[in-house]
């Protein structure tokens, strides 16, 4: 059976996002510093990378900066990629790490106290239209809570992995996630109550 490299095991469903497979020749060229090979990698992974960055940061400009930073780092570090994990998984981790690093660097979001974090987010009010918008709902969460929620609920990270990324305990990750979900429940209930 002649199965395309970028279809799933059944050979029917096309692989998408970070699950896409990269041809060894493209990787080998990239590892030699060939810029068109990097352009191929961007054409394939630029969108999933941007999507994850946007979900984690909640801000388009920050997401663009993050993608730029990740691909610049990729150009510099691809020689160290040994193929132990699929390339997409490697790039996804690099993107998540860059986003968390950005969150940790930003002094505004350094506050590790969940109470203070959510209280600060409460100060920002949203319009009824924003309350119905999924992305806007996510943006209403404190940055760290948003990142924890996205990583756990959408990207399949475990609490152990999240705790390690943030340099915090597992219970911290669990607490932030619980509060974040609670906030989302409250947010989706608000428009229903208002109508």
């Amino acid at each position: 059976m002649n199965r395309s490299a970028n279809t799933d095991m059944s050979g029917l469903a096309p692989l998408s996002g970070f699950a896409q497979i990269v041809e060894a020749s493209v990787l080998a060229r990239a590892q030699r510093g060939d810029m068109p090979a990097f352009a191929t990698l961007y054409a394939r992974f630029g969108q999933p990378c941007y999507g994850l960055a946007l979900r984690l940061t909640g801000n388009a400009a920050q997401a663009e900066d993050l993608v730029q930073e990740v691909f610049l780092k990729l150009i510099e570090t691809i020689r160290s990629y040994r193929g132990d994990a699929p390339f997409g998984a490697w790039l996804k981790r690099m993107t998540a790490n860059a986003a968390i690093d950005q969150l940790r660097k930003n002094k505004r979001f350094v506050d590790a106290d969940p109470e203070a974090m959510f209280a600060a987010a409460d100060a920002v009010d949203a319009s009824p239209a924003q309350k119905l918008d999924a992305a806007a709902l996510l943006r209403r969460l404190p940055p760290r809570a948003r990142a924890v929620l996205v990583l756990h609920e959408l990207e399949g990270y475990t609490h152990t992995e999240i705790a390690k990324l943030f340099g915090q305990s597992e219970s911290y990750s669990k607490s932030i996630l619980a509060r974040g979900l609670q906030r989302l429940h409250a947010s989706v209930a608000e428009p229903q109550a208002e109508t």
Binding site: G46, Q47, G51, V67, Q68, A134, L154, L184, Q192
Partner: protein, 162 residues
């Protein structure tokens, strides 16, 4: 913490699902911006490497020049020179038998007494364990006096003044 109702759970699940399924597209020019940033970064690195290389070359050239200048003006080991001259003087005195012929004149020579004074000062310095550059002028002066005495012995003359 109150337990969310099923409606709320469904709504949140739908929100998360819609977020997960959304495929926002990055700006069309993002790759060209990344390429430009990479180019600029590479140029900066090249410039830094060139600057560092240039500085290394300047330092190396300076070191070579300094070494060349240093080796062009070698330091004289006045102590070794004085000891060599002393042996030379003894050999001349022995060969010409001048020492035996004019011992009194030699002993009365001012150069000889100055030589004796220098030897006394050198001995005192060694007794006090002074082995620094302070002794160089003494060894130099000793060499000059021995030079003068050798020249005088060769001419068969008694030195009266240096």
């Amino acid at each position: 913490m109150t337990r969310p109702d099923s409606k709320s759970v469904e709504a949140v699940t739908a929100v998360l699902q819609s977020i997960g399924e959304a495929q926002p597209q990055p700006p069309a020019d993002l790759w060209s911006r990344i390429e430009a940033a990479h180019g600029a970064r590479s140029r900066r690195r090249r410039l830094r490497r060139l600057t560092a290389g240039g500085m290394f070359c300047v330092i190396l050239a300076g070191a070579v020049a300094l070494r060349g200048w240093h080796s062009a003006t070698p330091e004289i080991d006045w102590q070794a020179r004085a000891q060599a001259l002393e042996l030379q003087l003894l050999a001349i005195e022995h060969d010409n038998r001048i020492a035996a012929a004019t011992p009194a004149a030699f002993d009365a020579n001012p150069a000889t007494s100055e030589l004796a004074e220098i030897d006394r000062r050198l001995q005192a310095a060694y007794e006090h364990k002074i082995y620094t550059n302070q002794l160089v002028p003494l060894w130099k002066r000793r060499s000059e006096l021995l030079d003068a005495l050798i020249a005088a012995r060769r001419e068969g003359l008694t030195l009266t003044r240096i």
